[in-house]
C-alpha cells in the first residue's frame, strides 16, 4: 500500500522476520510481554520516535484493549481498529448481552447481570433447565468456564468459577447461561467504514477446537445454507450496528443442531482465521482495515461479494500432539512448504528460526482453497503430505489424521467433537515401516553426508560460540 512500516520487538525477537521486513524497528523491552508487547508507554514512545501515524495492533496482546485504543487517539495516532467505545462495549460479557438483546440479536437464555450468590444461579438453573454454563463476566478464551449438570453441583462450581475469574481477570464476577448441547461455533465477518457502510462477508465454521482454542477453520460452514446465511449475517450486522462498530470485526454465534443460533461475543479485531474468508470472497481484509482507518469508504458493495469454493485453515503450532500437545520449543532445522494451486501460507518462521518459549507457539497457518469442500480437503491432504517441519514437534500429524476422518469429511462435528476424537486413537504416531528402516540405513551409512541432522548452518565452533555469546550480551546493553 506504499506505507512505511515500523516494527516493535522484545529482546527475544530482534532476529524475527517481522523486524527484518520493516523499514523501522524499535526495541520495546525484555522478553516478558508485560515489559514489552503489553507496555502501552513503550509502544507509544516507539511511535513518537519514528514519527508513525497509524498503529496496527495485530491479533493479540493489545488488539482488544480499549485503554490502548484511547491512548493512541490521545497521542494523535490513528488506531487501526474499532472505536474504543465499541471495544469496551463488547469487552463485557454481560454488558454486551444486554445490548444485543435490545438490538434483537438472539442470545442464549442466561442471566443479564453477574450472580453474586449461588442462590441466584440455582434460580436461573430451575428456570432455564440444566445443563447450564458458568462464565467469568470479564473473561474470554474459555478461561473460568464451568459446566453444571444439576443443582447439587452449583455451590462448588460457583466457588471455583469465581476464584478462577478473579485469578485470571482480577474480577470475580460470574454469570450463567443455558448450555446449548451439540452446538457448532459459527462466526460472521463484518466490515464497516466511517461513512455508515456495513457489510457481512459470510460466515466461518470454527467448531474444531481444543481447550476452547480454534484449531481448524473453514469458509463457508458445511451446514449453513443460503437461508441460514442470510439470517445469521443480518444478526451480525445488527450486532455490530448496535455498538457503532467501525473496522473489521467478527460476531461469534453458537449454532444449535436445530438451526437456531445465539450471539456469543464479538471479536473487535482481525482474527487469525480471516484468510479463509479472503480466499472465498476475494477480499483483502487486512488492507481493508487500514483503508477504513484512513477514512476511506469500503471498496466493496454487497452485490460484489460473491463467495466461490471452499477454504480451510490449519493453525500449525509447535506442540507435540502425541504428548497431549506439550509445547515443543527449539530450532526449525528444516522447513519444506507445499506450493501449487490453492495453497497459501501465512508463516512467521523460517529454517533456522528459534521457536521461543516466551510467546504463542504458532508457527504459521496453512490455508487451502478448492472449488468445493471435498476438493479443498483433497488439496489440504496433498499439501500436508508435502509439509515438513523438522527440529520441533508440530500439530501437522493431527491435521493429516483429520483429512482421513469420515466425520470431518462429512462435516459432522460440533465444538466438542475434536476433544472426543482426541481422547480416542486419533493421534497414535506412525509406526516405522520397512521403508523407514531402509531410509535410516541409507542415511546412517552415507559417509558423504554431514553427520546427524542437517542444520541451517554448520555447527558453531567453540570460538564462534564465544563470539556469539558476546554478541548476545551486546544486544542486552
Amino acid at each position: 500500500m506504499g506505507i512505511e512500516t515500523v516494527a516493535v520487538f522484545s529482546d527475544a525477537d530482534r532476529k524475527a522476520p517481522h523486524v527484518a521486513a520493516a523499514d523501522y524497528a524499535v526495541r520495546l523491552g525484555p522478553p516478558p510481554a508485560r515489559e514489552s508487547y503489553l507496555s502501552v508507554a513503550a509502544i507509544l514512545e516507539a511511535a513518537r520516535k519514528t514519527k508513525a501515524t497509524l498503529i496496527h495492533p495485530g491479533y493479540g496482546f493489545l488488539a482488544e484493549n480499549a485503554a490502548f485504543a484511547r491512548a493512541c487517539s490521545d497521542a494523535g495516532l490513528t488506531f487501526v481498529g474499532p472505536p474504543a467505545d465499541a471495544i469496551e462495549a463488547m469487552g463485557s460479557k454481560t454488558g454486551s448481552r444486554k445490548m444485543m438483546e435490545a438490538a434483537g440479536v438472539p442470545i442464549v437464555p442466561g442471566l443479564t447481570r453477574p450472580a453474586s450468590t449461588a442462590a441466584e444461579l440455582k434460580e436461573f438453573g430451575r428456570k432455564a433447565g440444566y445443563p447450564i454454563l458458568l462464565k467469568a463476566a470479564a473473561g474470554g478464551g474459555g478461561k473460568g468456564m464451568r459446566r453444571v449438570d444439576s443443582e447439587k453441583e452449583i455451590e462448588a462450581a460457583f466457588a471455583r468459577a469465581s476464584s478462577e475469574a478473579m485469578a485470571f481477570f482480577n474480577d470475580g464476577a460470574v454469570y450463567a447461561e443455558k448450555l446449548v448441547e451439540g452446538p457448532r461455533h459459527v462466526e460472521v465477518q463484518v466490515i464497516a467504514d466511517r461513512h455508515g457502510n456495513r457489510l457481512a462477508v459470510g460466515e466461518r465454521e470454527c467448531s474444531l477446537q481444543r481447550r476452547h482454542q480454534k484449531v481448524v477453520e473453514e469458509c463457508p460452514s458445511p451446514v449453513v445454507g443460503e437461508n441460514l446465511r442470510k439470517r445469521i449475517c443480518s444478526a451480525a450486522l445488527a450486532a455490530s450496528a448496535a455498538v457503532n462498530y467501525v473496522s473489521c470485526g467478527t460476531v461469534e454465534f453458537l449454532l444449535s443442531p436445530d438451526g437456531s443460533f445465539y450471539f456469543l461475543e464479538m471479536n473487535t479485531r482481525l482474527q487469525v482465521e480471516h484468510p479463509v474468508t479472503e480466499e472465498v470472497y476475494g477480499v483483502d481484509l487486512a488492507s481493508e482495515m487500514i483503508a477504513i482507518a484512513l477514512g476511506e469508504p469500503l471498496s466493496w458493495k454487497a452485490e460484489d461479494l460473491r463467495p466461490r469454493g471452499h477454504a480451510i485453515e490449519c493453525r500449525i503450532y509447535a506442540e507435540d500432539p502425541s504428548r497431549d500437545f506439550a509445547p515443543s520449543p527449539g530450532t526449525i532445522e528444516s522447513l519444506r512448504l507445499p506450493a501449487g494451486p490453492g495453497v497459501r501460507h501465512d508463516i512467521g518462521v523460517e529454517q533456522g528460526s528459534t521457536v521461543p518459549i516466551d510467546y504463542d507457539p504458532m508457527l504459521g497457518k496453512l490455508v487451502v482453497w478448492g472449488p468445493d469442500r471435498p476438493r479443498a480437503i483433497r488439496r489440504l491432504s496433498r499439501a500436508l503430505s508435502e509439509y515438513e517441519v523438522a527440529g520441533v514437534e508440530t500439530t501437522l500429524p493431527l491435521f493429516r489424521r483429520l483429512c482421513g476422518d469420515s466425520d470431518f469429511q462429512a462435516g459432522r462435528f460440533d465444538v466438542q467433537w475434536l476433544e472426543r476424537r482426541l481422547a480416542s486413537a486419533l493421534l497414535e504416531s506412525r509406526e516405522p515401516s520397512d521403508e523407514d528402516v531402509l531410509l535410516a540405513a541409507a542415511a546412517l551409512s552415507d559417509e558423504t553426508a554431514p553427520r546427524g541432522s542437517t542444520p541451517a548452518e554448520p555447527p558453531a565452533s567453540p570460538w564462534r560460540r564465544r563470539a556469539r555469546l558476546e554478541s548476545l550480551r551486546g544486544a542486552e546493553r
Binding site: R430, V437, A443, L444, T454
Partner: protein
C-alpha cells in the same frame, strides 16, 4: 565398496544387525535373513531418495536423535530404533577391556585405509574410527561408546594382522 554395520533394537531381545554395503549410490541392506537392493541418493535439501529395482521410489528426511532415528516421510515423523554402535543395553560392546577402556583390534588381516582420530581426540558414540580394507571390502570400525582416544598405534596405509591392536578409547563416566 564400503560396508557398515548398524544395529536395530528389538523390544526384549538382542539387537539385530543391519549390514549396509554401498558402492557409490548403490545400496544393499541385509537384515533378518532378507536383503534389499536400491539406489540411495542424497537430495540437495538433505533428504534421501531410494529407488528400488521395480521402480518404487521412497523419499524422506533422516535425523539422528538421542531417542533414535527420526524418519520423515510425506512430512510425517516415525522413530526407528537404529544405532551406529551396538546399543549399550546389550552390554556386549565388542573389545571392551577393563577399567572403562575399549580396545579396538583388527578382525582380520588387512590394510588400514583411513584413520580418523589421534591420541587425545574426543570421539562420540558411533563415530567412525578406522577403515580396514580386507578382501576388497572396506570395513568401518566405530566407537561403541564416547570417550577419549588413549593410544592409536596404526597409520594410514599400514598392513595389520588379524587381532592386532589398533587403538583404545577411555570411556566417559567410568
Amino acid at each position: 565398496m564400503r560396508r557398515s554395520v548398524l544395529f536395530l533394537k528389538n523390544p526384549g531381545g538382542d539387537p539385530s544387525q543391519v549390514v549396509v554395503e554401498r558402492r557409490g549410490a548403490g545400496c544393499r541392506v541385509a537384515r533378518d535373513g532378507h536383503r534389499d537392493d536400491f539406489d540411495a541418493s542424497r537430495l540437495p535439501d538433505g533428504r534421501y531418495s531410494l529407488l528400488f529395482e521395480d521402480g518404487r521410489q521412497v523419499s524422506g528426511r533422516v535425523q539422528e536423535r538421542p531417542e533414535g532415528v527420526r524418519v520423515f516421510r510425506r512430512g510425517e515423523p516415525a522413530t526407528v530404533s537404529m544405532s551406529r554402535g551396538r546399543p549399550s543395553s546389550a552390554s556386549l560392546a565388542a573389545g571392551a577391556g577393563e577399567g572403562g577402556v575399549e580396545e579396538i583390534r583388527a578382525l582380520m588381516h588387512g590394510r588400514i585405509v583411513e584413520v580418523r582420530f589421534a591420541a587425545g581426540d574426543r570421539v562420540e558414540p558411533g563415530a567412525l574410527l578406522l577403515v580396514l580394507e580386507a578382501m576388497k571390502m572396506q570395513n568401518e570400525i566405530r566407537a561403541s561408546r564416547g570417550g577419549v582416544v588413549e593410544r592409536c598405534e596404526v597409520e594410514q596405509g599400514q598392513t595389520v594382522e588379524g587381532g592386532a591392536f589398533l587403538l583404545s578409547i577411555r570411556s566417559d563416566n567410568n
